[in-house]
């Protein structure tokens, strides 16, 4: 079980500083939603967590180790990532694409074993792509491609799961299915960090919410504590409030803030 933490992370894209000291703490067994308006730095913060972007200040820690002191392949055995990048080429099946997730568990020249095939099959089942396993990735719909990327992250058999907008191409049924899946994975002890635009999904399914605004985490905690009418208004420019219906959290939105 591994805990992922970010301490005062600053990061630049080109000349522009995007993150101005962001803190995060994702514990094993919880689903943490990272929310924030467009351009607040959600994807950038996620990228620093798996070394796709180097921090200029601060540190990303896996338990008590700075990820920059770990070997990249070691990090890839602990953190599984689903990115938003599109598939580049056809000519690769869904199964081959998901099997890439096993690479860090094998030497560069070591053949894949049956346990790798099993992990791939499990991941495909988890995202309901088993029947599509031998199709070319370019023949898939946007939602199916997104699930391929998520299956690849699951095939890594990680202890920490990072998902960048895992629901943005999914239909409603698959969106709810995806968040149910994340709950199950967390119950198995994974630390799950997920960026979401839909605050209603975040409120209903996630244990805690971290709100990123202009490169800083301005609040983090349970949905009731974080998504207050005040914060919704100042950060997101919308009016709304959380209420509890039959033991479930529901976020009601009433529209834009006037002016």
């Amino acid at each position: 079980m591994t805990r992922l933490r970010a301490f005062g992370v600053q990061a630049r894209l080109g000349e522009r500083t995007v993150l101005h000291g962001a803190d995060l703490d994702v514990a094993p067994g919880e689903v943490l939603a990272l929310v924030g308006p467009n351009g607040s730095g959600k994807t950038t913060l996620l990228r620093t967590c798996y070394r796709a972007l180097t921090v200029t200040e601060g540190a990303i820690m896996l338990d008590d180790k700075n990820i920059h002191t770990l070997r990249r392949r070691r990090v890839a055995r602990i953190i599984g990532v689903s990115t938003q990048e599109p598939a580049a080429f056809g000519g690769v099946t869904v199964r081959e694409s998901v099997r890439l997730g096993r690479s860090a568990r094998r030497g560069w020249l070591e053949p894949f074993r049956t346990e790798d095939d099993d992990a791939v099959a499990r991941a495909l089942t988890q995202v309901s792509l088993t029947s599509q396993a031998d199709r070319d990735v370019t023949e898939l719909s946007g939602g199916e491609r997104q699930r391929v990327s998520i299956a690849r992250a699951l095939a890594q058999e990680p202890q920490v799961l990072l998902l960048d907008e895992p629901t943005n191409h999914l239909d409603l049924r698959h969106q709810l299915g995806m968040l149910e899946l994340l709950r199950t994975l967390a119950a198995d002890g994974l630390a799950v960090l997920v960026t979401l635009h839909d605050l209603r999904l975040a409120a209903e399914y996630c244990d805690r919410i971290a709100v990123l605004d202009a490169g800083r985490v301005v609040d983090a905690g349970t949905p009731e504590h974080v998504l207050t009418p005040d914060l919704l208004e100042t950060v997101f420019g919308v009016r709304g409030r959380i209420r509890t219906v039959g033991g479930r959290r529901v976020l009601d939105l009433y529209g834009l803030v006037d002016g």
């Binding site: 070997r71 990532v81 990048e85 080429f89 000519g91 049924r173 299915g177």
Partner: protein, 371 residues
């Protein structure tokens, strides 16, 4: 992590299984066997055809007698062909056909890898300015006479190879600072233009008409000067670089997940990309040095190969290599035999034949996609 139960998984998609693409992706062993046979046949045909046509049976026999470690005269009887014919086969046509095969393989492998590493379907082996750099080397040596004579027949190949490394060195210096593949490719494009301009400058301002002819003929590409000695260097480069690339095939595949995806899977993407582009340019430089600039093979053959076996590098690279070898041997046969009086530049053949094949392939693929 324990297995997650089926109930937790997403709802099953109603679409049924669809395996038409995987059916088309034939077994790698079958493809490679067929291509190897095609290559042997193409090389034998290339050796057989010419001003004097030598029967295929004699071609196989001459080669067998020459390369057999045991003297075959004692087993199969005396040689039934003239010494002239043996010289034509073994000293002229065979090294020429094999050079075409090696250059074709080098260009196709380099193109396949260049496309994978830049994730750009238009990438080819010359994308970092290798061909115009080589042209600059040849023009400079021809016009200014640096080192002419000291290397004999290897003067121009050596000049081409050295020239090809100039833009490459510049690109690597840039890519150590800029980690974006777009930046690297754009620098390559810019350097191509710089060296093309330098070629024009050297030829038109400093050179004379005779030198212009020599350089233009070299730039057009061909295998007229091929011999056993000129075959050694590109063969070694192909074997060493090709092996290194095959050993990297899993890393190449990771790039299919995107730059961030590959990073998340444990790879140092910028460093790997620089090393691979180095290998691409080395292959291209070795090819250009013996045959001049041959376009289209390095762009087109990788797409044909991907059509046959997919984009998994462990399957794509050997398939592209063999297919490139076959393609260039066949193109050289056409270049030699279409006209009775003169040899056509091989670049003309690869363009005129390759273009329509490419378009036909795209036509088939996209008419299926739109069903």
């Amino acid at each position: 992590m324990s297995t997650v139960t089926e109930t937790a998984s997403l709802t099953q998609s109603p679409t049924g299984s669809d395996s038409r693409r995987s059916d088309r992706r034939r077994s790698l062993a079958t493809v490679l066997t067929l291509l190897t046979a095609a290559l042997a046949l193409a090389v034998a045909t290339a050796v057989s055809l010419g001003t004097i046509t030598i029967p295929l049976g004699d071609v196989w026999a001459i080669v067998a007698y020459r390369i057999s470690p045991v003297p075959l005269d004692a087993i199969w009887g005396d040689r039934w062909w003239s010494a002239t014919r043996e010289a034509i086969v073994f000293e002229s046509r065979l090294p020429r056909a094999l050079t075409a095969a090696v250059v074709g393989a080098a260009l196709a492998v380099a193109g396949a890898v260049a496309q994978a590493v830049t994730r750009n379907p238009l990438a080819d082996p010359y994308l970092l300015g290798v061909s115009s750099g080589a042209g600059f080397g040849v023009a400079t040596v021809t016009v200014l006479g640096f080192g002419a004579g000291t290397l004999g027949i290897f003067t121009l190949p050596f000049a081409a190879f050295a020239g090809a490394l100039l833009p490459l060195a510049a690109t690597i210096v840039v890519s150590l600072r800029a980690h974006s593949v777009t930046a690297i490719v754009l620098v390559g494009v810019a350097l191509s233009m710089v060296f093309s301009s330098l070629v024009t400058f050297v030829l038109l301002v400093l050179g004379d008409v005779h030198q212009l002819g020599t350089v233009m003929q070299w730039l057009a590409g061909g295998f007229g000067d091929a011999n056993w000695r000129s075959l050694i260097a590109p063969t070694l480069v192909l074997i060493v670089t090709g092996t290194a690339i095959m050993l990297c095939s899993r890393r190449l595949n990771l790039l299919l997940a995107g730059d961030d995806g590959a990073t998340a899977l444990g790879m140092n993407v910028p460093r790997f990309r620089v090393l691979i582009l180095l290998a691409v340019s080395l292959l291209a430089a070795a090819a250009v040095a013996v045959s001049g600039t041959i376009g289209f093979v390095g762009l087109l053959v990788p797409h044909l190969a991907a059509y046959l076996v997919g984009r998994n590098a462990a399957r794509l690279v050997p398939t592209a290599g063999l297919l490139g070898a076959v393609a260039l041997v066949l193109a050289d046969i056409l270049a030699r035999s279409l006209s009775n009086t003169t040899e056509l530049p091989i670049g003309v053949i690869t363009g005129l034949v390759g273009g329509p094949i490419f378009i036909a392939m795209l036509w088939r693929r996209y008419s299926q996609d739109s069903r």
